[in-house]
Subunit: 191 residues, 2 copies
């Protein structure tokens, strides 16, 4: 691979199945700024697509209304940069739909990488993931909303990425921050 | 300095003076998720304080109502982690108030570092800033809202940090993403 090789990365933001504060499996609500911030970070760092995963039709409708405002409506005319970013978004029912979409796009199934704040016995380092994504396969990074993805998703994923940490015991970043930092660690450039 | 030395970092989110799409100087509105995301990232990476800068009293009132809900109201009981993060926030009128507050806290004025998406002839690298903050002085990082801080703030700052870039020409990150990535680049830990 040459220096200019660009890894094939996709992101999915999971709204179901996720867990709530009490550990129960729920479907979480769409957050407007997740849509904008994650799309803008995806575009900045060169991710190929950003999937919003929720089976709740009313929630899909809200997400699609927001996206349409910025890609085809008045928002797109007001701010073309936002239009470029939000064009990366797909709203789908399930994680299986994401995998199928990427398989159709890339001609092969992606490897999946779960992210989580709490740590896991299978966690691998950013350095390890950085070397994996250079090997040419498509990769799908999974991010949870609410109190995180349910274990059935995390356990099924091919890899689990180490939590993001600073020099403190506190690790309650927003998912918007976590996605931004993950993309920067894997794809960011510094002079 | 030993390995365990923690730099003394503060953040300020500037709502005035900032510029709008047409380059005019304006006061921007408070965004709820700026408050949460930047406080949570500050707490995660060990920043000592996060200043929200706006001279508009109605806007200060909104910011203080939100912060109070999570630090002293029902939000704090529901989510103590959020309480820990939002306790780092100060709402002040001007950048001069921020400088005075840090001088009172630290016994000396901080060095100021402006961030901007567009680049500047005085930009210095993340590696350079990382070595500067290890030297023991307090540092204040300035982030703009709307279309960025006005030139009078950027030009007066001691240093200007290089823009965050990926392998694309697109660099329209949200300020929430930019703060998160900056803190991670300067203070993040990786296994």
């Amino acid at each position: 691979m040459t220096q200019s090789f660009k890894p094939t990365l996709y992101l999915a933001l999971i709204h179901y199945p996720v867990i709530n504060k009490r550990g129960e499996t729920i479907a979480s609500a769409i957050t407007n700024l997740d849509i904008h911030d994650i799309a803008r970070a995806s575009k900045t760092f060169g991710a190929k697509g950003f999937f919003i995963v929720t089976p709740v039709k009313d929630q899909q409708y809200i997400a699609k209304r927001i996206i349409s405002h910025w890609t085809h409506g008045a928002g797109g005319e007001y701010n073309p940069n936002r239009q470029d970013a939000l064009q990366l978004i797909y709203v789908v029912d399930t994680l299986d739909d994401v995998l199928l979409h990427i398989q159709n796009n890339e001609g092969q199934m992606p490897k999946t990488v779960s992210t989580c704040a709490g740590g896991h016995s299978r966690c691998i380092s950013y350095d390890k993931v950085q070397s994996l994504i250079q090997q040419g396969l498509p990769y799908l990074f999974l991010f949870g909303t609410a109190w995180g993805m349910s274990h059935e998703i995390i356990d099924k994923s091919d890899y689990i990425l180490e939590p993001i940490k600073g020099k403190t015991d506190y690790n309650h970043l927003s998912v918007r921050s976590a996605v931004s930092i993950t993309l920067d660690r894997l794809l960011g450039l510094r002079s």
